[in-house]
């Protein structure tokens, strides 16, 4: 008898156990519900691609490769968005260049220097940066920071004009408090918490036996960090930086207020510029026809860029986490 049951149980549907064959209806319904909720993520992502590209199709078809041209002039029906792409890259890079050293510094401070009971309040305070809403950063940026920065930028620019690289980056005669640099700086404040917390997670996984080994060889704390913590966390920190970059590229409202709204390509960081999310946010309400399609298309490009960066970043993070566990 028992042998027959065993043989049959290899064929699940024809099992000799009538009780085991069918799961109750509610149980199966719940499983389906959970599956549907999980699939919703994929459905939303696919729908985003389809619906926005459909809305942007008239822009793609009228402009062709001209979508990447440097000629944004809605009045003359010219919709090349190169200046916006440039602005997105420049502001995101400024943000990363400022935020990453600071974030890694805080992450090391939290994990390697301060005692654990101090680490918690420091984390809370850094996380407060993320609790301040984007629009409040923008409000502060445009009403308080920009007027003040205007003077500083002006004196820096007049000081460095004509000097080789410095004049190229910080010179120019179209100086404004609302500029690429202000936008990048405020983005840097906004991405610091996420880069810090991701780097901290990675740094914290350094095996303490390796650290003690370095100390036993007489290393100072900094030498230990350079020789043990850094090689261990490099990959994960790169992932964190990429995620910060993606965040900086897509952050909208604060930038829309402080970037200066001027679609030009210039090396002068203290000049007003534009980027893709800010362009969409500021111009969408007054747009129609191909203009609106162009802004939708800008959204599609932005979505593509951020998805690519996020996929790479998550891949890097996952790989370095696997390696950290394996080591």
């Amino acid at each position: 008898m028992s042998t027959v049951v065993k043989a049959d149980s290899a064929v699940p549907a024809e099992s000799a156990h009538p009780l085991a064959r069918r799961r109750p209806l509610g149980d199966r319904a719940f499983a389906l519900l959970a599956l549907a909720a999980g699939l919703l993520v994929l459905v939303i992502l696919i729908l985003i691609v389809i619906s926005t590209s459909q809305q942007a199709s008239s822009w793609f078809s009228t402009e062709g490769w001209g979508i990447f041209a440097y000629n944004w002039n809605p009045g003359a029906n010219q919709f090349g968005v190169l200046a916006f792409i440039y602005g997105t890259a420049v502001t995101a890079v400024i943000a990363v260049v400022i935020a990453v050293p600071v974030s890694i510094g805080i992450a090391l401070l939290l994990t390697e220097v301060v005692p654990r009971r101090w680490a918690r309040p420091i984390v809370y305070v850094v996380d407060l940066l993320a609790v301040v809403p984007s629009v409040v950063w923008g409000l502060w940026g445009i009403l308080v920071f920009a007027p003040w920065a205007n003077h500083i930028y002006g004196s820096i620019a007049s000081g460095v004009n004509g000097i080789w690289v410095l004049g190229f980056l910080f010179g120019g005669n179209n100086i404004s408090g609302a500029s690429f640099f202000t936008a990048g700086l405020i983005l840097a404040f906004m991405i610091t918490p996420i880069v810090t917390s991701l780097s901290r997670e990675v740094v914290a996984t350094t095996p303490s036996i390796d650290k003690q080994g370095a100390y036993a060889l007489g290393a100072t704390r900094w030498e230990m960090i350079r020789g043990v913590v850094w090689p261990h966390s490099q990959g994960g920190v790169v992932g964190a930086v990429l995620l910060g970059l993606g965040r900086a590229m897509g952050e909208t409202i604060a930038v829309a207020l402080v970037i200066g709204s001027n679609p030009v390509i210039t090396s002068h960081l203290f000049s007003p510029g534009y980027n893709m999310p800010a362009g969409i946010a500021n111009l969408f309400g007054e747009s129609s026809g191909v203009f609106r399609a162009a802004l939708m298309g800008m959204g599609v490009l932005l979505f593509a860029f951020t998805i690519i960066i996020n996929v790479i970043a998550r891949g890097v993070v996952a790989r370095s986490a696997r390696r950290a566990r394996g080591a």
Partner: protein, 300 residues
């Protein structure tokens, strides 16, 4: 024992540390730089909070919190942000009602049903990727799918915010479900419970504290978002409690509009709205911490 060890502690300890050298100086410089990095982030944070509190507190009063929004040219003591507060509350609440159950169910799929299967891994990875999708894209998405067909309404805004919250809720809930020990599940199975019952009555309650805390953080994030609402809710100047029809407004949208106004009255109302918004976000964040401290049974 204590007596014999006494004399051994007596001899003067030799100072085995190296004499001051470049290596130690460098170590100290780097330590100082790490502290400086922390101090640097405190400067903008302090500035923003102090400015918002100083400028916002002078505007806020009971009538500011309840009056309707006046024309921008009027001075700061006229009108208020009542419609924006009402809009933020109902839109965020509706977004929470949509996103949190779906997010928890998604997390249940990934952790309880999908296991190590390819689909669960893809969904988990895509949730991570989706947290990186810019919020303005969610606004454009709901605009094309909903607002173009059904006009401006709070519901559209709630959909856009829900899209933003969904992956955050999935990821935080999944982390919490992972922490529930397998022995609990096996105990329930041994009593003959079905998988759905085990999940709903054993696993979920055990992880509830952490899940609620994660959801509250997602709510705090959503309440401060402007971009998804720009193209989906429109704008009104009087209170619209009906979230399902008619244009609406929100605190972030009003701050965004008022920030680019030249009138000092409008700017002052913007600061008042900013303070209100930050207070709301803080309340959610602090309740998340309290829930974690009080109710989370398993923590990472």
């Amino acid at each position: 024992m204590a007596v014999t060890s006494q004399p051994q502690a007596e001899p003067q300890k030799a100072d085995l540390r190296e004499p001051p050298s470049w290596r130690r100086t460098k170590n100290q410089i780097m330590t100082v730089l790490m502290v400086v990095a922390f101090a640097l982030t405190m400067i903008p944070l302090g500035f923003v909070l102090v400015t918002v509190i100083a400028k916002g507190a002078s505007v806020i009063s009971w009538s500011f919190l309840t009056s309707s929004i006046p024309p921008n040219v009027l001075p700061a003591n006229v009108g208020g942000m009542g419609p924006a507060i009402a809009g933020t509350l109902v839109i965020t609440a509706l977004a929470t009602v949509i996103a949190v159950p779906l997010g928890i169910l998604g997390a249940i799929y990934i952790n309880e049903y999908g296991g190590k299967g390819i689909l669960a891994r893809v969904i988990g990875f895509m949730s991570d990727v989706m947290t990186g999708v810019p919020s303005i894209i969610m606004g454009l998405f709901i605009f094309t799918l909903w607002t173009l067909h059904f006009q401006y309404s709070g519901l559209g805004g709630a959909f856009a915010l829900a899209c933003l919250m969904l992956p955050i809720v999935i990821r935080s809930s999944e982390e919490m479900l992972k922490l529930v020990p397998d022995s609990l599940r096996q105990g329930a199975y041994a009593l003959g419970a079905t998988k759905a019952r085990v999940t709903m009555t054993v696993v979920l309650p055990a992880a509830l504290g952490g899940i609620v805390s994660g959801a509250l953080l997602a709510v705090a994030r959503a309440a401060g978002e402007t971009a998804p609402l720009l193209f989906t809710i429109g704008i009104v100047t009087s209170v619209n409690w009906n979230v399902f029809s008619g244009a609406n407004t929100s605190l972030p949208s009003q701050i965004f509009l008022n920030a680019s106004q030249p009138y000092t009255g409008a700017q002052a109302r913007g600061w008042g709205a900013a303070l209100t918004l930050i207070v709301i976000a803080f309340i959610f964040m602090i309740s998340a911490r309290l829930v974690t401290a009080r109710y989370a049974r398993y923590s990472s």
